[in-house]
């Protein structure tokens, strides 16, 4: 009997959610015989219309719409299409799934998630303190919780700076007008705090890691983005072999006792070659499929971890493997849209 995996974050636009990359990674190895259950927040989450990737699609309530509703919906889905493992792929869902994990586990649905204290420590407002504790450099960061603090934050950081939403989005700002505009936009969209961060002239690297929850790092995929969109998303990237990145990631995972996937964003200052930790996203990155070409199938590893299997650390990633993202169009009959809109589920 194959393993059925539920996956969120199916919206693959020019700012893609990681779900599709995770699904493709899971289906990549020979002999995959489980079913993929897409868990969608909106009928326009693009991935739900990919009949080659999904076996079923279900609508689920937004993470902010109340725990009991979401639990009830997941258990309904589980009763119709068995869910062995769920891999949440969005930052905003993590608290919810951490909260639901014991209950889901009782029903036979497994997850492999970091604990909430570790997540809190690396949240955008706290990451600066975290860096201080670990003696890691980080760009000057200010978590603004009140528009009255904005001036002070701007003065402390100086231009150019980044304005970031509490969960998502980052905008480059060169003057007060930009900053105030994006500050207001981020506040309305994601609430407080709004993060202001110094911009450093640096090379940017990402490492996707999987931690075993006890301090060990089981896999690591360091990359450099070689093409980025205007939203800073990778459109092409290449895998690296870089001890500095590897060691820094290992140190972070060890201290956090991180469980499951995360994406560590690291800057290397151009002038001084100093490494700065920019942020840690508590989930897979959207480019995770690249790992399958570099001996790091990390989504598969997370499924095994969720199932409680004994997982050994992978050897280092193969370097020099690249990906380019390639947009494509799916044709879908309006009945699919109707089924999802009115019935909330779609079975291919």
């Amino acid at each position: 009997m194959g393993i059925n995996v539920g996956i969120t974050g199916l919206h693959a636009t020019d700012n893609p959610a990681p779900g599709i990359g995770v699904i493709r990674s899971l289906k990549h190895p020979e002999g995959w015989d489980g079913e993929i259950i897409g868990l969608a927040y909106d009928v326009m989450d693009t991935g739900v219309y990919d009949e080659n990737l999904l076996d079923h699609a279900y609508m689920i309530p937004y993470p902010n719409s109340g725990t009991q509703q979401i639990l009830a919906r997941l258990l309904y889905i589980h009763s119709k299409t068995r869910l062995d493992v769920i891999i949440p792929t969005l930052d905003s869902e993590l608290a919810l799934f951490q909260h639901l994990e014991p209950e889901l586990r009782k029903h036979g649905i497994s997850l492999f998630l970091p604990d909430s204290i570790a997540t809190k420590r690396i949240s955008k407002p706290n990451i600066a303190d975290f860096c201080k504790e670990l003696e890691i450099d980080t760009p000057k960061t200010y978590a603004v919780k009140d528009s009255g603090e904005l001036d002070k934050a701007i003065k402390e950081i100086g231009y150019p700076l980044m304005v970031k939403g509490a969960f998502y989005e980052a905008h480059k700002c060169r003057d007060d007008k930009d900053t105030i505009n994006y500050f207001n936009e981020m506040r309305q969209k994601w609430g407080y705090p709004v993060i202001l961060q110094q911009m450093i002239d640096a090379d940017e690297y990402d490492v996707c890691c999987v931690g075993d929850g006890k301090g060990g790092m089981l896999g690591a995929l360091p990359i450099r983005k070689t093409r980025i969109t205007d939203k800073g998303k990778a459109w092409a990237a290449i895998t690296l072999k870089n001890d500095q990145l590897f060691d820094l990631s290992k140190k972070i995972i060890r201290d956090l006792k991180w469980a499951g996937p995360c994406e560590i964003e690291i800057l290397q200052e151009k002038n001084t070659a100093k490494m700065h930790l920019l942020e840690i996203n508590p989930r897979f990155p959207a480019w995770i499929f690249l790992g399958t070409g570099a001996n790091q199938n990390l989504p598969k590893m997370v499924v095994d971890l969720a199932l409680g299997k004994d997982v050994q650390p992978l050897p280092n990633a193969k370097s020099g493997v690249t990906f380019v993202r390639h947009a494509t169009d799916l044709i879908c009959p309006i009945e699919w849209l109707e089924k999802l809109t009115t019935g909330g589920e779609l079975h291919y």
Binding site: L337, E338, T341, T342
Partner: protein, 81 residues
């Protein structure tokens, strides 16, 4: 009386409504779907309250107010004129 619908509409069993003219889609609840179907079938606006009260468990004065409000919604959405 079909003429007071703005364009061609497909209304499915589930209450999913597709406007062929604009490409917009809507969801109607059961009562809304019932009324919309009657409009499509050519029922006159004046009869709709009766149709609703005979089909559903509802007092006439409430149905009258609600149908009125529903028509306002359809007009505001430029589905009927």
């Amino acid at each position: 009386m079909d003429s007071f619908l703005h364009s061609e509409f497909t209304l499915s069993e589930s209450g999913f409504l597709f406007d062929h003219g604009t490409g917009l889609t809507y969801t109607l609840n059961e009562t809304g779907r019932f009324i919309f179907q009657k409009i499509q079938d050519g029922s006159h606006a004046n009869n709709l309250v009766e149709l609703v009260t005979s089909e559903f468990e509802v007092a006439e004065d409430i149905a009258r107010k609600d149908v009125d409000d529903f028509f306002r919604q359809l007009k505001e959405a430029r589905i009927i004129h």
